[in-house]
């Protein structure tokens, strides 16, 4: 049983402890604490362990931090929104086959024209192709299964799962036939990496992510109503179909842009979103969304620090995140089962 906030505040001698506790219960305070943690971590990441010139290290590393912020925003916002739309908190947009599709497109390129041309590809062209193809795929899937008269989110998810499996097995089939060297190059490219991002691509991704977030902001309160489920939301006057269309479009743009920038990293979203729900202290999206983004930055920064300074680059960031995230996911599932 939780203590009733009303009785806590009305208790006559407000001790110092309870005053701190009530203030801590404020979502704004919690978010600010998270923001401070991000700043500290970013400072530690940028300014410590500098081998040469500090200015040079700052230039390179601040770019990495920006990339982390952009990726965390894309992954955090899209996962929380996706959870609200689907009324399910153990999914990520990757269930729609987003990252599987990304890997497939890369594999097809390597398979058809070899790793030399894959590496020789203009980064910008590759990024653009990936983004356009991923967005087109998800919009097609969405309008086909949700835009028509059927209008079923569950059917859409199911078809997404089936297509995702299809993409993965086609990828695997092609990868088996690859030259070992080509395969090496490909699998290297398929691990998410946040260090040394291409500046132009980072900027373009940032623009798309900002646009995606800008589309979500006016719908923050509507998202709160969507947590009640479709029937109740419709009863409260939400134009469910239009709202879900807009939300889904921004989710796919953000996910496509960030995946094309750093590679498949959606698993992070699951961890980040669920941590945000328990940490934020409010179900309102005004709080959960920024909380998820900041927790995402902390995970990425922390992961990168562990990777660089503790493991001495003995792996990739996605390995660290998948390992920690996998444990957390197991914990989530087991805790749900225990309830």
């Amino acid at each position: 049983m939780l203590t009733d906030p009303a009785t806590t505040t009305s208790a006559p001698p407000a001790t110092r402890r309870t005053r701190i506790a009530t203030r801590w219960a404020q979502p704004g305070v919690r978010l600010a604490a998270l923001g401070a943690a991000v700043l500290v971590l970013a400072a530690v990441y940028c300014c410590t362990d500098v081998p040469g010139s500090l200015a040079f290290a700052l230039e390179i590393r601040s770019l990495s931090v920006l990339a982390m912020l952009v990726v965390a925003a894309a992954v955090g916002v899209s996962t929380v929104v996706f959870h609200t739309i689907t009324q399910n908190r153990i999914l990520t947009p990757s269930i729609m086959g987003f990252d599987a599709f990304y890997v497939l497109v890369s594999t097809v390129i390597v398979f058809s024209s070899g790793s030399a041309s894959f590496l020789g590809f203009d980064q910008l062209t590759l990024w653009l192709v990936q983004v356009v193809v991923m967005v087109a795929f998800s919009v097609l899937l969405f309008t086909w299964l949700f835009g028509g008269r059927r209008r079923s989110i569950h059917l859409m998810l199911l078809v997404g799962i089936v297509l995702g499996t299809f993409f993965r097995s086609s990828t695997e089939w092609m990868q088996r036939m690859l030259d070992p060297l080509d395969f090496q190059v490909l699998s290297d490219a398929m691990f998410a990496s946040l260090t040394r991002p291409d500046e132009t691509l980072l900027l373009l991704t940032a623009v798309l992510v900002v646009l995606g977030c800008a589309a979500v902001v006016p719908l923050l309160r509507t998202l709160d109503v969507l947590t009640l489920g479709e029937p109740a939301a419709v009863g409260l006057g939400v134009d469910h179909r239009r709202v879900v269309m807009v939300l889904f479009a921004s989710v796919s743009v953000m996910v496509a842009a960030s995946t094309a920038l750093v590679g498949p990293i959606l698993f992070l979203g699951l961890v980040v979103a669920n941590l945000a729900y328990s940490y934020a202290g409010s179900f309102r999206h005004v709080w959960t969304l920024p909380t998820a983004v900041l927790i995402g930055v902390i995970c990425l920064l922390g992961g990168q620090l562990v990777l660089e300074r503790v493991l001495g680059f003995g792996g990739t960031l996605s390995t660290v995140i998948d390992f920690a995230g996998g444990l957390f996911f197991l914990y989530l599932v087991l805790r749900k089962g225990a309830r």
Binding site: N88, V225, A232, G235, V238
Partner: protein, 252 residues
């Protein structure tokens, strides 16, 4: 007035609402009864624009629900669905606040807060306002949802099986509330009920459905006759008069 004109809804080969024409929404309480699968919930879905009719027209106060902006409709018509599972952790107060969404779009004014307070007081939920929904008993939770519907401040209120999973005391409590909502606040309530004795005791009019059609539509006393109930439920129902009230005996 809520009016359905020759409305048909099919799921695949099955017709769940079959050419129904009926009007609801006069003052007082109307009960919608009928066996499982008679099409009662679908009928509510059609009015609450969750389900699109395959044929026919649904109007509320003369305007077609398909053409009315969802938000405008939500200001005159509130629907409480059967199962209200909420994934997020909401308090009673959070939930009741949602009732103001059609009016305020989430930015609460002083006027909205008054409505919220009134709804919470009316349903006697002051003591629980900061409790989370998953910490409440079934009866309290149902009251919280009704408070949300009340805060929505609509002329028409549709309740889909509000007595589901409640014990005797809470069933009576909810029905008494529904009655006072109609009598004191002037709500025009339509409610799906399974217990026909509750329907007969608390409602002014009973509409009975079976196999997607309206098979009876009359005052409670006229519906509470063995031959009518037998035709609706396809089972023998005895009706006795106790203290001047018809009581159906259907316990086998």
């Amino acid at each position: 007035m809520i009016a359905l004109e020759n409305v048909t809804k099919r799921y695949g080969a099955q017709t769940v609402v079959d050419d129904v024409s009926v009007r609801f929404g006069e003052e007082g309480v109307t009960a919608l009864i009928g066996p499982n699968g008679a099409g009662k919930s679908t009928l509510f879905g059609l009015v609450g624009r969750l389900v699109r009719p395959d044929a026919g027209r649904v109007t509320v106060d003369g305007t077609d629900v398909e053409r009315t902006p969802s938000n405008e409709l939500a200001k005159v018509l509130a629907v409480l669905r059967q199962d209200n599972h909420v994934a997020a952790r909401l308090t009673v107060h959070d939930l009741v606040e949602f009732g103001r969404f059609p009016h305020s779009r989430g930015r609460l004014t002083v006027h909205d807060r008054e409505h919220i307070e009134r709804a919470i007081t009316y349903l006697d939920l002051e003591a629980y306002r900061n409790r989370f929904l998953d910490e409440l008993s079934g009866g309290q939770r149902q009251r919280a949802f009704i408070a949300m519907v009340l805060a929505q401040d609509t002329e028409y209120v549709l309740l889909d099986e509000p007595l589901n999973n409640l014990d005797l005391r809470h069933m009576t409590e909810i029905m008494r509330l529904v009655r006072t909502m109609a009598d004191e606040l002037g709500k025009r309530v339509v409610t799906v009920l399974h217990d026909i004795n509750f329907a007969a005791t608390w409602s002014d009019r009973i509409v009975a459905m079976r196999d997607g059609r309206v098979v009876a539509d009359a005052s409670a006393r006229e519906i509470m006759r063995p031959e009518v109930l037998a035709a609706v439920y396809d089972t023998t129902v005895d009706v006795r008069e106790i203290d001047g009230r018809p009581v159906a005996l259907y316990y086998g």
